[in-house]
Amino acid sequence: MLTRIADDQFSIDAESAPFAQALADHLRVSGAWLDVVPGINSVVVQFDAGRTKADDAERLIDVAYADFEYRPTDDGPLIEIPVRYGGEDGPDLEPLCADLGISKTEFIEQHTGQAYPVEMVGFTPGFAFIGGLPTSLHAPRRSAPRQQVPAGSVAVADSRTGLYALASPGGWNLVGRTDMTLFDPHGEDPFPISPGMRVRFVAR
């Protein structure tokens, strides 16, 4: 479904985060949009309202949507992310394990036990939303967000693991930290982690 947002945006419903990513990639090459931004269950297209009529933008989106075919894939490139779990690097790991009724070792075994899909990048440059967390590790966000979460923090909330590419405020449960560079504006590839990739966490 297509919904108008204000004068210069359209929102399109998406059945899942990977669907939203694929649709956004498809739309991005279908017109001269200012930005095409996938979310967890939607894609928002911002068009250049000073130069493009809303009707024309809507028609372009409709046409592009009509020839969009979603093919789920689970064979994206796999990268390993080294993580130091617990202690100062993951101050929430201990209380979280107490809430979940498991030991730290069990948490780490489960968290490192499979590859996860990168569902979305956003919020701050390079912040990665990684899906597929086992139900046994699901926990709500912290009731009060932290003012400052260190860069490289690995955190969990609900069904996802989040990677804080930059120091920023944040409400997810911090379970560890990686030294891997997750955003490098001056690098050849500023965004080493992209949606569609798979990641495996490795305990250090």
């Binding site: 947002i5 204000a6 004068d7 210069d8 956004a24 701050t124 440059p125 590419a165």
Partner: protein
């Protein structure tokens, strides 16, 4: 060369926004008030988006070691060149050895100081604008500090003045033309009415990321688990505590709070001039009406700023 004697409260180099990178988490950024950036650059013969200084609340003190042309636009200042008043709406030609004191911004939140030829800084991810949070762009990815040295690419230019009809005077009470958003209907009926009729107060927490609005609170039907979705400069989010948050140019690119309104494109440049204590009203407008008003506003400005379609 330009030597920074005093940096002011928060002075950064800003240029055009970074477009097309929101899906990577990179906010558009750029000048918080791009119209004022363009007006300053116009007076020194630059393209509208030549890298310039964006000063916040208190401007910098700069010493010049080479002749060049300078202009100040945006928030109202009483700037001094070697202790003498300068005309805010005209080109200022400075000589080597001169000191420009931009001073306190008395109305509005930000002023722009443009230099002939623009400031010489590299582009990163498609723009020279500073991203403070991720520490890249502009001057080493940070706000200016005392003793920093800037380079203007140009020399002295033919002076000119902004015509009267294009001079902006920031006001402490601003009306923003605003449209409904995907989660507007999560507001209670009373809250919907107060969002669009209230006189909102700009809180102390007002920066390039966003502005917290006080004076009233809204009631929003939300369980705090909305799936993250795209947000933009001018999005009004309403967290569960009911205090609306108006997103700025450096805000995160996705958010999980209900989006209850979206400032229309034509008035987004005004967000850059909101300062703590100012009053804001959201004037509800239908999307097509807002689009038509945008065209009208662009037509008005085109005579003085030919690139207006890219500016607002």
């Amino acid at each position: 060369m330009i030597e920074v004697i005093k940096p002011g409260t928060l002075t950064t180099i800003q240029s055009r926004p970074r477009l097309g990178l929101r899906h990577r988490g990179v906010p558009s950024g750029g000048a918080a008030d791009p119209l004022s950036l363009a007006l300053a650059n116009r007076l020194v013969g630059n393209q509208w988006d030549a890298p310039a200084l964006e000063a916040t609340l208190i401007g910098p003190v700069l010493k010049f070691t080479k002749d060049c042309s300078v202009a100040i636009a945006g928030g109202a200042t009483a700037s001094l060149l070697n202790g003498d008043d300068v005309n805010r709406h005209a080109t200022i030609n400075v000589r080597a050895g001169d000191t420009l004191s931009v001073g306190v911004i008395r109305a509005g939140a930000r002023c722009y100081i443009a230099f002939s030829g623009g400031l010489d800084v590299p582009e990163v991810l498609g723009s020279a604008s500073t991203n403070l949070q991720a520490e890249f762009g502009g001057y080493k990815g940070r706000a200016l500090a005392a003793n920093d040295e800037l380079v203007a690419r140009g020399g002295v230019v033919e002076p000119c003045e902004t015509p009267d009809k294009f001079r902006l005077t920031p006001s402490s009470s601003i009306a923003l033309r605003t449209c409904e958003s995907p989660e507007t209907d999560l507001l209670s009926e009373t809250s919907h009415a107060s969002l669009f009729s209230g006189n909102w107060l700009v809180d102390q927490r007002a920066d390039r990321m966003g502005i917290r609005l006080g004076g009233e609170t809204l009631t929003v039907r939300s369980d705090g688990r909305m799936p993250s979705a795209a947000v933009f400069p001018g999005t009004v989010q309403c967290p569960e505590d009911g205090a609306p948050y108006l997103l700025g140019v450096d805000a995160g690119t996705v958010g999980g709070y209900p989006r209850v309104a979206q400032v229309a494109r034509l008035d987004r440049h005004l967000l850059g001039q909101l300062r703590p204590g100012d009053r804001v009203r959201f004037v509800k407008m239908a999307p097509d009406e807002a689009l038509q008003a945008l065209r009208g506003k662009q037509d008005y400005w085109r005579e003085w700023l030919p690139d207006i379609d890219a500016i607002i």
